[in-house]
Amino acid sequence: MNAWLTAAPILIPMLTAALCMVAWKHPVVQRGLSLLGSIALVAAGGALLSIVLNQGIQVVQMGAWAAPFGITLVADPLSALMVLIAAVMGFCVALHALGDIDPVREKGGHHAVFQILMTGVCGAFVTGDLFNLYVWFEVMLISSFVLLSLGGLREQIDAAIKYVAINMVATACLLLAVALLYGVTGTLNMADLSIRVPEVPNQPVISAIAVLFIIAFGMKAALFPFFFWLPATYHTPSVAVQAIFAGLLTKVGVYALMRVFTLIFTGDSGWTHGILMVMAGITMIVGVLGSLAARDLNRAWSWQVVAHIGSMVMGLAIATPLALAAAAFYMVHDIIVKTNLFLGAGLVRRLAGGSTDYARLGGLFKTAPWLCLLLFVPLGSLAGFPPLSGFWGKLLLVRAGLETEHYVMVGLLLVTGLLTIWLVGRVWAEMVWKAPAEPPAMAISTLSFGRTYLLILPLLLLSLITVSIGLQPERLLNLAGQVGHSLTDTSAYVQAVLGTTPSPQPTLLGALETEAMP
């Protein structure tokens, strides 16, 4: 049972996607499938996390081949946490898409491709094999290509050109990095790598390969100087796609960095983590400045995605248990808030007649006071206002940074925080307070009842999560603490993957494999 559960985050969305393709001609069926699949994924994610917390790290050897020979799936606290949070985002965005998605996009396969994206994201979180990680990154990448361009608006196509070109370079870097690492260790299993990498006679070459991984994952995570694809594209696709991209895509890159730079590349941390630190610092500042320069809500949020990637990577670069816990906590917070912000911006655009230029927005306080209350949660959390989730993330990072005497980084973090407050204050003043330049294109009440709920419910759900993390942070703090410890002491991970104790039901996926055989 547990073995199934570890593979479920990949299998559920994959199956959902397959069924959606079967029901190609019936968008209504696809909607139902998408929703059901998303709910199932949330359930699986929740169950997986609780099992990991109660019974320890879960490992499945796919095809029953013992590690390091086959492909291993591993759910440790970080993986399980990420799966659950991704699943919740998937659910919220799927729900929102039901009310928002354009029929053309729906007929173009939105639901199927969305589920493929979730497959890739979850695959990246649970795989314990480096080449397999590359494969899931590719699944994620191709589905993001499709989702980005789906609908074929001119600006989407333009954005997709840049996105595709840059990401194909990133992909080549990742593949090369994996190949080189194989070339010195002879293995692809991450736990096995963590044992073999320190034994490589020529350690400088390991440092070089590690830096290549920083580059490859840094491009996925949108770190300076590799982030350009993000602000160029995130404002162009449908709201649902924007939201899921902003929530998850870059964080998979951060997750991958966290995984390999705690498990595999720890030998030359003065150099590798130093590079990460510098990149994180510049990313924060450049990101927040970009968000101030943007005049469009969606583009400002895109830059904010960049800025806060810097915060998470700062936690990784400091690499104490507290700092890693901070990074994990911050990641959860940020995923929720960014998804919420983009969903909210979509709603605002709907109300303002297609514009998210915030000089042209206004009057939301008068026309939709409840929506303002709802929007205040992600905005405030973004700014790190207590007692919302962002505050705890900031507190953890500040403490982790000060404890390790990274004063400059803490300073940059706080300056970024202050500039974010400026942005939030400005957005609030323009969007909510100011009298609108032109009367609102539509009132929320003109939407059909059901549709209103589909659009608002995800916002409400995400805001509730943000508030409850803020008011009752202990559960997540505790969990993040476990993540921090499991990332600094990886022996349990390695033991679980390579250990002599066989995994509970080793023959499980053999059946599935034979089906795939011709």
Binding site: L176, A232, P387, E474, G481, A516, M517
Partner: protein, 769 residues
Amino acid sequence: MILTAILAIILAAAVAPTLNRLLPALSHWVLALVPLSAALWFALQVPGVVAGVPVLETASWAPSLGVALSFRLDGLSLLFALLICGIGAFVVIYSGGYLRGHPREGRFHLFILSFMAAMLGLVTADDLISLFVFWELTSITSFMLIGFNHEDARSRRSAIQALLVTGGGGMALLAGLVLMGMASGHWTLSAIAASGADLRAHVLYPAMLVLLLLAAFTKSAQVPFHFWLPNAMDAPTPVSAYLHSATMVKAGVYLLARLNPTLGGTEPWFWALTLAGGVTALWGSAMALRSTDLKKILAYTTLMALGVLVLLIGIGSDGALVAFAGFLLAHSLYKGALFMAAGSVDHGSGTRELGELGGLWSKMPATGLFIAIAALSMAGLPPLLGFVAKELIYEDVFRNGHMVALAVLLLANAAMVATAATLFLKPFLGAPTKAAGHAHESGPALLAGPAVLAGLSLLFGLWIALPQGLLGATADAVRGGAPQSLNLHLWHGLTPALGLSGLTLALGMALYFGLSPVKNSLAAIQRLTRIDHDRAWDCLLSLLQGTANRITSALQDGVLQRYLAWIFAGILLLLGATLVMRGGFTWPGIRLDGDDGLGIVLALLMLGGTAGAIRARSRMEAVLSLAITGMSVALFFLLSGAPDVGITQLMVETLSTIILVLVMAKLPMLPPGPDRSRPAKLFHSVLALGIGGVVTVILLAVLDQPLAMDLSRFFGDTSLVEAYGRNVVNVILVDFRGFDTLGEITVVACAGLGVFALLRARMGKGGQP
């Protein structure tokens, strides 16, 4: 119970909008009951606290971070709590009257009660992090309140300004408190004080001091962070009365007082506080004399008072701290009364401009009376509480011989006398103006607050023994250490302090009657200061904005080519630096043997194809060159014992070429002429050769290492026996690493969907510009 009080006020805030809709005329009276009962509860704690037994409370919050919602009520906290809830209750009543019929009255109560809860939490919190949480909450709620008239662009600007200044202070506070917690190892104020850890000797003391002072000075509008406070007067009068006189701006003062036992008493502390306080006091008084808008005048006198309070903490002697407590109380009472009464004047006469006010006494006698009493207290005349406070200040500062401070205080107090006279004499006793013609007295909601606060100013002055215990406890809390007995009197006899008071009065009246030359000279100062601050603020922001715009448009300029150049430059820099800094790369000896001849030929073909693709001027030329490379790669695979890979490569190469050619048929020719400019060519060549070189070097270093073959051995050994396949590569693909193949199939399927969607799923025509 403290937490309950806070939660009750939050609850009141939450129901305020609904209540206002249900009971538009009564809701403020009902809502005021909540802070009033809280004030009552706090009042009941006075005897215990004065006896030296603080009220303690703790609720668990985030134990894994050592954060708890812990509260502690000592003299200082209690005095503040009483002011917050007491004045707060009257402000709630007052704002109900002031905003009667305003469509957003309910929302206003929501914000002001939320603010009250935050403020109450701030002054009672014992836990460092809780303190910070409440501190930030006051900033956010005050943002909402300052921007209450949000259709007005000036209000919005002021709100953002206040948010940014106090928000910046908040950032400093966070870092400062975390440093304090780390340095002492304790996360509550009482534990830090009790532990006896001497933070003043800690290596991080200067950092802590700077950060925490920054927080306090921004919040309490000390020069040079004072400029936001007068602007914040754009808020409705009840907000000014509450936030900007009695409570929020005193949060910084509270913080300083609270930290005095642990961080105070050092040279830097003394100089920072006395300097900032003194300058602020002088500047505030000068500006108060200069202004003509009632609310602006009051805002500036508030600055003066904040400066004096900070100055007194800085001096830090026993007497100064008693004076601090006394002046804190006196100022909150008279300033609250004055703000509310000024609002009443505005409400009744329609203007707050001094020039338009006159002869109101007959029309608004009650308002006039309360202003008179409060102004007398402000001027420091007996028998009001302000007099007692001023005597205490003079007495101590004189005794300790801080002559510069004394001069500052003398000037500031004289200015207060003149301002007090200005506030009352002309508007009420001067010749009636047009505004006085239609003026009318305000209702009970507007007058309740001024009446009670002015009354208390008088009562406490006459019966100083009543607040004496609490004032003593406050001073004890600020001083830290054992309580000291206190014996206050209205009449001290003929002391130097009394002489100084007389001097103040004389100087003040001289200022009042000789105001115009003073005003003129102050005008010059104001011109300077205006330029200095508000415009400097705008410059700072536009500088920041400009920097943001410039950096952003330099980086994110919309041109893919430059994005890629940045990326490749980053790759080259990072890898190159690693190679240089980490070393360890040796050039492997090239040993050619018989088979290598073919390899060299293939490599040359690959490179030739590459060069051809670069040099190609036409598309077909490029495609053919690429095909040469692709075929050589396929041949290389075939010859390296990888027939499956070679054949696949061959097929894919063919397919790619076909698709390329098919797509190209629909695409334009490559433009004639060179592909890029000469400098670009050079730069790109450097990047290309650099990256190619770096990759080669790393690859060679990798190849120089031994490779463990155990995985492949295992595959070779088990492929047939356990997985029943003779082609090991195929067995790996479908069995050992079948999961990769699953992903790969997903990619192929998704790409198919994508191509379909690109060609078919198109919304509208063209899209938006």
